[in-house]
């Protein structure tokens, strides 16, 4: 349809040919606006369409004229029920609505539509002016906004974090579900009330003070507080944000909170633990240090570390190990640190020089630890100067004692020889006297000579025992072990001791023992042991008595038993029998000659072999000696 024709048509119909010029101007205006304009006849036929309409519906202008608007716009066969034009015709006045129509490509286009009536002179509606605006973009934006708001609301309501908004007075304006659940309260009960009663009284001042920060950039604060929740007092960490108007006045404060009670507890436990370790670190009697393995720098150290060396903390921070090390050169120290890193740990002794030049002995215990790809040396320095000194003194004293012991042994050895030589002369001459080789003696003289002889022998025996004991007691006299048949040894000893036993009219017997029962010990000393015990038994057993020796295998060694039918040992004195120079009483010692060293020597021998010796009185009289040798 031609424009001219339309104008004419329009003008003609409305009878406004006088306003042709005016109409043209109107047409021009209508073509320029961003809304679609249609002029329809009462049968919905298009009489005129403006440029926007043509462009928007993508219909060629010449084909539009005469077409039904519902066909062109909605592609339907009749006006729909919601059609504003229809409504307008019915109502006889202005109508508007919004609707969509489907484009050829299937996309939906939203239109805001309006319909005006055009009247003839008689006031009858002859045309309809249909104006539409494409509001698809606005619609889309509105939808997007709504969706976004819904999403946001869902987010706020569904999350575990507490979300609230309060007005500048602190009164709740918004509370999410999580908050209601947390505090066990209904939303209605909180809205309009202030949050303050829910905060722990101790934390409220700090909270309010922190909220002052919302008045200045970045209008955002963080505050931890205890709050009265349904589960009791819980720690909540809040992030508050001030929502402000264009002028900068705070409208509301939005706060997001999270329960951090468990984290707080863990932090507390960690802090406690750290405090405990720090206390150990600070109060340890040793110096504890942490070194950077690369630079040798003291990163951390307790007070003991610098105090022990006479430095202040500040001074100590600047020094390095070579500054205090006495033995090792800087290169040695570097090598040593490398070695510790390689080995993982090292314990060694060194010497350190204090600030005032004293040298201290230090026991160093190190461990290498790797943190974040860096190597650190953890070192504990123990000042062992005093201990070293004490050790040195003890060493010297021990050496002195050893020397004294050697001197004593030597003295005993020389003295005994020197005593025994004149004793031997006395013995020899008294023997000569009593043998009457040199002339006759009367009975009394002979008796005296014999007494001299006997006592000389006794004295010599005593000297021998002292010498033996002295040798046993001196460390150097080690035992020479060999493996031998215990039966053979006992047999030999018993045969040897049979001579003195028979002299006293005693029987000395040996229980049968398998020859293969072996003992690993110092054979000579065990012989000595047996001899001493049997000798003792002979001494303290009256004539016609019996002495019995037995040897048997026992768990982990050999058990020797020597029993006699002698006088036994008074009950209260059993514990003393191994004492030096012990004899049951002075009267017995006179009767039974002996130095009182025999059992002491026995005990020494048994101890040297790691065995045990026990003396007991037997029921019915006599003594039983039990020796265990491993």
């Amino acid at each position: 349809m031609k424009k001219q024709k339309l104008i004419h048509y329009l003008g003609g119909e409305v009878g406004a040919s006088a306003h042709l010029k005016e109409s043209k101007e109107l047409e021009h205006v209508l073509d320029g606006i961003d809304e679609g304009v249609l002029v329809l006849n009462k049968r919905y036929g298009i009489i005129w369409a403006n440029k926007y309409f043509i462009r928007n519906l993508r219909y060629p202008r010449k084909r539009v004229a005469g077409l039904k608007c519902y066909k062109v716009i909605h592609n339907v066969g009749s006006p729909c029920r919601k059609c504003v034009v229809r409504d307008m015709f019915k109502k006889g006045s202005f109508c508007e609505s919004a609707h969509f129509h489907t484009e050829k490509d299937g996309s939906r286009v939203w239109h805001e539509v309006k319909a005006y009536p055009l009247f003839d002179k008689a006031g009858k509606i002859i045309h309809a002016v249909y104006i539409f605006r494409d509001v698809t973009e606005r619609k889309k934006a509105e939808d997007a906004l709504r969706e976004s708001e819904e999403r946001y609301r869902g987010l706020v309501e569904s999350q575990q974090d507490l979300v609230v908004r309060v007005d500048p007075k602190g009164q709740f304006t918004f509370i999410n579900d999580a908050y209601c659940r947390k505090f066990g309260k209904k939303r209605e009960a909180l809205l309009g009330k202030t949050f303050m009663p829910l905060v722990h009284p101790d934390d409220l001042p700090a909270t309010l003070k922190a909220m002052e920060g919302l008045k200045v950039p970045p209008y955002r604060i963080r505050v931890d507080q205890r709050a009265k929740t349904a589960q009791g007092w819980r720690w909540i960490a809040w992030e508050d944000y001030a929502i402000r108007d264009k002028k900068g006045n705070t409208l509301e404060i939005q706060a997001v909170g999270r329960d951090i009670t468990d984290r707080k507890r863990a932090e507390g436990a960690l802090r406690d633990s750290e405090e405990r370790f720090r206390s150990i670190f600070e109060q340890a009697p040793d110096s504890i240090l942490l070194l950077d393995a690369k630079t040798g720098e003291f990163l951390e150290f307790n007070d003991r570390a610098h105090e022990n060396l006479g430095y202040t903390r500040e001074e100590f921070k600047k020094i390095r190990i070579p500054d205090i090390e006495v033995f090792e050169s800087p290169r040695d120290v570097a090598d040593h640190i490398k070695k510790i890193v390689r080995k993982g740990s090292d314990i060694f002794e060194t010497k350190q020089r204090t600030k005032d030049g004293r040298v201290r002995d230090i026991l160093v215990n190190t461990r290498c630890i790797s943190l974040g790809g860096r190597d650190f040396i953890q070192a504990i320095w123990r000042d062992i100067t005093e201990r070293k000194k004490a050790e040195e003194i003890i060493k010297r004293e021990v050496e002195k004692l050893r020397q004294l012991d050697r001197m004593k042994s030597e003295f005993v050895s020389i003295a005994s020889h020197e005593i025994k030589t004149p004793l031997s002369v006395i013995k020899a001459y008294s023997e000569l006297l009593s043998s009457m080789v040199l002339g006759d003696l009367n009975e009394k003289q002979k008796e005296l000579a014999e007494k001299i002889s006997k006592n000389a022998s006794h004295l010599a025996e005593l000297v021998n025992e002292i010498l033996d004991l002295s040798r046993l007691e001196s460390e150097g006299h080690a035992i020479i072990k060999s493996s031998f048949s215990i039966r053979d040894l006992v047999q030999e000893t018993v045969e040897e001791m049979n001579v003195p036993a028979h002299k006293k009219n005693l029987s000395l017997g040996f229980d049968a023992t398998p020859a293969k029962l072996m003992l690993t010990a110092d054979r000579e000393k065990i012989r000595r042991l047996l001899r001493n015990i049997i000798d003792n038994a002979i001494k303290f057993t009256p004539p016609l008595g019996r002495i019995q020796v037995s040897a048997k295998s026992a768990v982990g060694g050999v058990l020797l038993n020597i029993s006699d039918t002698g006088i036994g040992i008074p009950k209260g004195e059993l514990g003393k029998v191994f004492d030096k120079f012990y004899q049951v009483d002075s009267s017995t010692s006179r009767r039974y000659k002996g130095a009182g060293l025999g059992l002491t020597i026995c005990k020494k021998i048994v101890e040297q072999h790691g065995g045990t010796i026990k003396l007991e009185n037997m029921r019915g009289g006599g003594t039983l000696v039990t020796v265990f040798l491993p």
Binding site: P422, V425, A428, E431, V437, A456
Partner: protein
Amino acid sequence: MVDDEPEMIKAIKIMLESGGYVVHTTASGVECLNVVDSIKPDLILLDIRMPQMDGWATLKKLKAKGVTKKTKVIVVTVEKGPGAEIFGLQDDVADYITKPFEMKVLLDSVRRALK
């Protein structure tokens, strides 16, 4: 007989002479070695603890000499316990008497050695 203790020499000399033996005494090992060639003893009584040359050294030398190679030797000493074994001379010792000793023990030992 060899002993550095004069009183001991005297006593033993009397004891042995009472048994009817001829006793020649020397006061040291050196003196003993010097006289054995002329004396040619049947038995030697040897003390161990002596100054200069001790009994074991003397015994070794006596055994090395032709004249005393087979002569029996009785060791008479204050030492108890092992001695000859240490020097490997146990086969060269006929008897071992510990001082102080009984006269009877000495005379029995000498008698046995000279049998």
